[in-house]
Symmetry: C2
Subunit: 104 residues, 2 copies
């Protein structure tokens, strides 16, 4: 894999009142991003068991350019504006891959 | 994908003195697990930029049985015993997938 990859971990807290709507918007955004954007390599979103309003997303982009293009994509902007009032905390951690393996 | 999947997020702090050795053992363990174990679907390990002794691993197993088999696998036991003195903090968060998409 290329060393140009951009990897991020998003740590998100969602207002529990809006959790179901938030999850639907996030799922739609992830599916569209990976399907449509060549440079979005993977988006894996999970909720912490027992505390489902705590969301983590591991994001992998092919390059800085791919990441910036993603931020301008209509499906991302729909998610971002649609969920702005639902997110009570957002921490974006930049990361360096150590080893990323998935079944083919 | 099956709803039997087991998803975990490991949050690990490593003694900076042993970080390079730790990373090598972790990388070896991840490669072996995904290559050899049918039920290990993905292991994605990253280090937080600017704080490389903070490690996150997103782990996906096909089932509870696959996860338990992984804990008994020789490559996992080698990693676990080999790094025991290097890990200063370990938090295992069980998680529920929301949406997990990767490029084929």
């Amino acid at each position: 894999m290329s060393e140009n990859r951009i990897v991020r971990m998003a740590e998100i807290e969602v207002d529990p009142q809006h959790l179901e709507t938030y999850r639907a918007l996030l799922a739609e955004e992830i599916a569209a991003s990976v399907a449509v954007e060549e440079g979005v390599l993977s988006l894996n979103a999970v909720a912490i068991k027992g505390n489902p309003s705590r969301i983590r997303i591991l994001e992998v982009y092919a390059s800085q350019e791919a990441y910036e293009a993603h931020l301008r994509a209509p499906h991302f902007l729909k998610y971002k504006t649609g969920t702005a009032g639902m997110v009570t905390s957002l921490t974006l951690l930049e990361a360096d891959p150590i080893m990323m393996c998935s079944k083919p």
